[in-house]
Point group: C2
Chain length 153, copies 2
């Protein structure tokens, strides 16, 4: 199944978190599951905080890119358009808030689930929760902003 | 000059952001500059958001580890103790908030400057600003929490 990130135009598909063209990065993939969005990602052994637990900065990164991807997908849905239709939507992060609820075990695949809270003009507010083995370990919210054309070189 | 992270006990020095024993990680180093704290870090070419700009997840990570390091250092100062004295302080992140003020150019060394806002029991609230070529591009706040002993395996 195609992920949201498969539709990012090539010139904005290099993000370390979610760009399919960044071979060094996380290359996360996000899909719809009803009205929620889902990303699955297995941290690498070096993504350590305290030994045995996942680095919080990685969780922030996953939440960030999951939410900007969700924002783009939500805008296509709001316009009743397919994700391969023009013009393409691409969002950047205006702000990011993460609450670490409990330590996230390093090893299992993580599931990040997102919900669109609000679409307001060029902004989309998305909340996301990280689950490890079914237990919520971190929760975040992103204010995603439609990328200004001036960002693309 | 020794950095705060040089004093982290070996068993909690593997963090991807700031652990001196994590050779895959960022290995940031933070020092005092008067009442402020300073970290300098040059992103790698793959730490891209949109080409030419730094990945926001990296900025969140830098702010996160800069602030937990600052929290530890602030607690030693509050107790009028040297950082090589026992017991060692090590903080984890309770919550992280980042506002992206403007795009951060990829290339120049970044400077992260932190200030302790409040020490409250086992919590320290630290704010940090990321500068690129002297211009503030992101601002964050971390609620750092003294690590429970149960975290160490």
């Amino acid at each position: 199944m195609s992920a949201f990130q498969d539709f990012y135009p090539d010139n904005v598909a290099h993000c370390y978190g979610c760009g399919r063209l960044n071979s060094h990065g996380h290359q996360i993939r996000t899909i719809w599951d009803g009205d929620e969005t889902v990303t699955r990602y297995t941290p690498r052994p070096e993504h350590t905080a305290i030994p045995g637990f996942v680095y919080g900065g990685l969780l922030a990164s996953l939440i960030d890119c999951h939410c900007t991807g969700t924002a783009a997908a939500a805008m296509y849905r709001a316009e009743n358009r397919e994700m391969d239709s023009e013009p393409a939507f691409r969002f950047v992060t205006g702000s990011l808030q993460v609450d670490y609820l409990k330590p996230t075990p390093l090893g299992p695949e993580l599931e990040i689930r997102g919900k669109v809270k609000e679409i307001r003009g060029r902004k989309v507010i998305v909340e996301a929760t990280v689950y490890a083995e079914g237990i919520a370990t971190a929760r975040g919210e992103v204010v995603a902003v439609q990328m200004p054309d001036s960002f693309v070189r």
